[in-house]
Amino acid sequence: MAVQPKQKEKVDARGDSKSATEPRLPLSGIRVIDVATFIAAPYAAGILGEFGADVLKVEHPFGGDPCRNFGTATKRGDTLAWLSEARNKKSVTLDLRTPDGAEIFKKLVTKSDVLCENFRPGTLEKWGLGWEVMHELNPGLIMLRISGYGQSGPYRDRPGFARIAHAVGGLAYLAGMPRETPVTPGSTTLGDYLTGLYGAIGILLALRYKDKTGKGQYIDAALYESIFRLSDEMAPAYAAYGTVRERTGPHNPIACPLGHFRTKDDKWVAFACTTDKLFEALAEAMDRPELASNALYGRHQKRLESRHDVNDVVSAWCGSLTREEVEAKCYATGAPYAPLDNIADIFANRQFHARRNLVAVDDPDLGDTLIVPCSLPRLSETPGEINSLGPALGQHTDEVLEGLLGMSPSEIKRLHDGRVI
């Protein structure tokens, strides 16, 4: 295995130069309740947590967020996905289905700025904890509501997962070989992350509006919509000309070569010659400058017409060299190349190291160090932080109920005994 970067993301030490009254991070002082599950809305809360918000993860007392069981388990019981994605959060258990639990939840939300949820529409309402109730309790509240199909429309009650959203949103149809079975577009959770990003944008917009007007609002985000929004000109092109985009296998037909090729050592590379100049750089890397002549494939239109020939020539060249050799030649001429990396390649990649994309974080419970993806985006003055990994279930329940809601130890004990927390 590759050498791993061992630096732990440090608490920003530049606090000294700032005045004591200034916030350390953009969301210092903001409290977020994350009562959602898996990745979608929790990822929005996760981003807020990296940039200073205090995130309270409210979970069912028995089992907690099912993300704790998603993927590879650790010694501690919780999975790696949980440890990585529930970073910076505090876990508070609460059974929202009990009257006591619902009451405590209302108190928590009253003391918070943001609430993130991704139950099926109507679920929180059923428990008496819907938007109307919450908004009345806390008029400045911002509520992120993520679901498969959104809060309205004929499909709102259907079960939704990212896999379904990739299909409904039009992405799955485009991945795979022409006319063959569509494949998973790389990952089964893309739609969750993307919707988390839209959710975070919605929350930050709403926070700004609240700062100006005092008014809260809710954000209604659907998994399939996040996928659909990334479909470039498919909608206008269909409306204008009835163009239906199909699966195109390893190549994108808008330019050539623009696709994936195998090297001699059985690895893969990607090229993206979107202009004549870039093809010229590739031809030079191949040591075959004549390919880029006008008589041959110098012009975009000509390459598109002869795409099979061009791809064959490039394939043959890639197949005659190791990936390292292809890479060296392409980087030398500025050809639009990238290695098509698996995770082992990525751990060995110098750019990932230089950019500290992989962060080692110690987990005291695990007695071990985990490598997790760094906080994004990277802000020059207030970079995000990873101060802890996903917490144990209920790790912060007593602390939060006592510290934030002022409950007495005997009350808290009663709630534990009643299995409310």
Partner: protein, 438 residues
């Protein structure tokens, strides 16, 4: 928080030009005060300069514009943003459909940054704005004298989004970056396709360009908030590949601990079954996602009417289904092939089995849910006629975003913006036009 006192404290240190700009800002905000009954938008009064190309970066500016920001698209005078030439032509020579949709809400201002006079003009414009979005290769803006150091000295509160293929640092920072390469470099393409076969592209869309812009928009909103509290601007540095890599759930963590390399998994996944794509009798496709035993039981018993499949001895337990993935998928595929997509959807939905149509864009246009959610918006543009584009996401209850107009003709607001905002006279504008500065 004591926003006002901190704000004024920071403002005092600024140059007089800044004070002037601020006064003008306030005046223009007053002019743009929403009419009675209108709620205003979160980014009213925020000015954004978008000097990026294509989608990576500029889409962040689009989101800001949808929620109230005024966006000036600064383009090279002769040809403009190359996105104008990418994709399907429209009735207007300088705008493809792609441009019309994604350059929504912008005002086009042509400035030639490669000329010192143009660079100077650009600095003046940025000094009057809150946000700058750029996507040149690292060092390019610096070579024109409009890098971060210069611009932030002119405007200490400036927020600058810098999007490139590989970020502003590291050994690969100068390499070519396109979405296609970012999918490969970020680890997504490797996972797309059937095991042992050529990796396919994760859809012929510039996914990564959109993804990185979402992070960009988040960065800008965070930085604006921090600036409002402290007066200090900052820049945001993100590589397109990073946005892709960040969204791969436990992939890095599992490799770090167990050295586990995830491979291509075809149309399914190795962590649940049945969880993939299936063909129907009418030659369409659906996605089915049974993530646990309960869902599989509902599929077998209620939808397929084959309760024996859900018996513990058969495929009732997840580990058994995973061990016999091929067989389970085949049984489900045989069943789906015996029904039309409509019949199949009906049976599965009645049984609460997670299923979705694998939509083409034609299916999407016919889908009642898309219509009910107003996900597709048709804009009637005087130049190009009716154009249908994706709506505004996310949907906010109190301040939903807006699409005021489609991507503009090249330079449609150059004189207006430079005249009104920077006070250029007609004679000066004419001179700049003549010399191809604007």
């Amino acid at each position: 928080m004591s926003e006002e006192t901190q704000d004024s404290g920071a403002r005092r240190s600024k140059s007089e030009a800044q004070e002037e700009a601020r006064a003008e800002d306030l005046a223009s905000q007053a002019r743009e005060e929403p009419a009675e009954g209108s709620k205003g938008l979160p980014l009213d009064g925020v000015r954004v300069v978008d000097v990026g190309n294509f989608i990576a970066g500029p889409y962040a500016a689009s989101i800001l514009s949808e929620f109230g920001a005024e966006v000036y698209k600064v383009e090279y005078p002769i040809a403009g943003d190359p996105l104008r030439a990418l994709g399907t032509p429209s009735r207007r020579a300088d705008s493809t459909l792609f441009w019309l949709s994604e350059a929504r809400n912008r005002k086009s201002v042509t400035i030639n940054l490669r000329q010192p006079t143009g660079a100077k003009l650009f600095r003046k414009l940025v000094a009057k704005c809150d946000v700058l979005v750029e996507s040149f290769r690292p060092g390019t803006m610096e070579s024109w004298g409009v890098g971060w150091d210069t611009l932030s000295k002119d405007n200490p509160g400036l927020v600058m989004l810098r999007v490139t293929g590989y970020g502003q640092t590291g050994p690969f920072k100068n390499h070519r970056g396109f979405a296609h390469l970012a999918h490969a470099f970020g680890g997504l393409s490797y996972l797309c396709g059937f095991p042992g076969q050529t990796p396919t592209i994760p859809g012929p869309n510039p996914l990564a360009d959109y993804m990185v812009s979402l992070y960009g928009a988040i960065g800008i909103m965070l930085a604006l908030r921090y600036r409002d509290q402290t007066g200090r601007g900052q820049y945001i540095d993100i590589g397109t590949y990073e946005a892709v890599f960040r969204q791969l759930d436990e992939l890095p963590t599992a490799y770090g601990v167990h050295g586990k390399i995830r491979e291509r998994e075809g149309s399914g996944t190795i962590i649940a079954c049945p969880h993939g794509h299936f063909r129907t009798k009418d030659d369409k496709w659906v996605a089915i996602a049974c993530t646990n035993d309960k869902m599989f039981a509902r599929l077998a018993e209620d939808a397929m009417q084959r309760p024996e499949l859900a018996a513990e001895a058969s495929f009732g337990l997840k580990h058994k289904r995973l061990a016999a993935r091929t067989e389970v998928d085949r049984i489900v595929a045989d069943w789906t092939a015996s029904l039309t997509r409509d019949e199949l959807m009906e049976k599965c939905l009645a049984a609460q089995v997670p299923i979705g149509a694998l939509n083409s864009i034609a299916d999407i246009f016919a889908d009642p849910h898309y219509q009910a959610r107003e996900d597709l918006v048709t804009i009637d543009d005087p130049d190009v006629g009716e154009i249908t584009v994706p709506g505004v996401f996310p949907k906010l209850s109190e301040t939903p975003g807006r699409i005021e107009h489609l991507g503009p003709p090249l330079g449609n607001m150059t004189d207006k913006v430079l005249g009104e905002l920077l006070g250029l006279t007609n004679a000066e504008l004419a001179e700049f036009h003549k010399n191809h500065v604007i």
